[in-house]
Amino acid sequence: MPSISLFPRRSKRLIIFLLLAVFCFLGVYTWNWRTGALDTFAERSGMEIVIWTGTPLLWAREKIQGVWKRYIYLVALRQENDRLRAKVTDLHLQLSRLHEDAAEVSRLRALHSFQPPEEWRIEGGRVVSYRFGPHAVVESMLVDKGIAANVHTNTPVITSQGVVGRVLRSSANLSQVLMITDPNSRISAIGRDNRTQGILVGQGPGDFLHMLYVPLNDILEEGEVLVTSGLDGIFPKGLPLARVERIIRSSVSLFQTVYAVPLADLRNLEEVLLVSNVSQPVVE
């Protein structure tokens, strides 16, 4: 009498194969989670493939834009505009630092000694792409500067208007930037005028940023500019982040609900600045 089986032999083999595949996948995933070996390999090689294969496209795009802007769109006016834009960018950055220095001076005038401001080194980079590839589940963009230009994980990315985000991962010539509008972005922020601190969190593209953990009694005004506090150890102190748009003080919560809009125009970025801290430790 033939034996009756719930699964035919071929189905059994298939199920065993699938179980083995899942087991292998989880094993490799766990090993990589612990060591980061595959992540490092993939980001070094994958990002380099993207930048090398994408270079002709970027070159062509730049040339076409250049021809349009420089020859068809009034040569002299454009050059003048370029020069003035560069000047404005420089002045914006100087102004931002001066604001912070002025506030710091007034607070610390009574003190005998305080730390000098950190030295920043700024490197320009071109935006290559937004949300590259199918894994782009976070608000991110690729910038054509990497480890070769001293850009590493957590390097702050800014424009002359304000903070854009921070570097998530980088290869030799390409970096991936996590933008401040992403829900996974959390930045320690402080009000420029009233010095109220909180954590600025993204809510997605086109949505307000939320400033969390601002106690009900702390003073924060609508229209006040939020700057980086420097407490997170990633962003230098005093970079402009966002402007407070709306504040709700609820009687049922210990904290204020603060909505803010980013100062940088994050939708139409072509160039960004990458900020490296090159301050040397004080030798006594």
Binding site: L14, V50, T53, Y130, F132, G133, P134, H135, L178, P183
Partner: protein, 152 residues
């Protein structure tokens, strides 16, 4: 002829640079499975995995899972359907977009990343159409370049 697949990878990367959140490599893997030997399929899949993993924000594993399920589904489906039939490709595209949604949710969850559900859903739906259109265009070009190419 040997230039077809390197050119495909370059053009797919260009398309991904222009269109945010899209996958232009998956349709090529399916076409490669229909037309080429397993060695070439393996090589192309490895290159695609490295590109997507390297330039994406997730930890290693998401594209291995996505392309792995695509390959397994294709190999199993080939036993039941004609590999080149439009109905089968429609089924593969549908399965792949569902797998895309589920695998990204799973992998982002494993990393404790906060993701916008609506965005992944929209990307998955768009991926379905991109996959179909790209496969149609690719297979036509492939047949033009390789006259003896199989229609199945």
């Amino acid at each position: 002829m040997w230039l077809f697949w390197p050119l495909f990878v370059v053009l797919a990367v260009w398309m991904q640079l222009v269109f945010p959140g899209m996958d232009f490599l998956a349709a090529g893997i399916v076409l490669c499975m229909q037309q080429e030997r397993p060695g070439k399929v393996l090589l192309l899949t490895l290159v695609c995995v490295v590109i997507q993993e390297g330039a994406g924000p997730l930890a290693f594993g998401a594209s291995a899972l996505r392309y792995g399920t695509l390959v397994v589904f294709f190999l199993l489906g080939r036993k039941l359907f004609e590999a080149g039939s439009p109905a089968f490709i429609l089924l593969v595209a549908g399965f792949f977009s569902v797998a895309h949604y589920l695998s990204l949710k799973t992998m982002a969850g494993l990393q404790s990343l906060v993701v916008l559900d609506q965005r992944i859903f929209v990307d998955s739906v768009l991926l379905f159409f991109v996959f179909l259109v790209e496969w149609l265009v690719l297979s036509r070009i492939y047949r033009m370049i390789v006259p003896h190419a199989s229609r199945s």
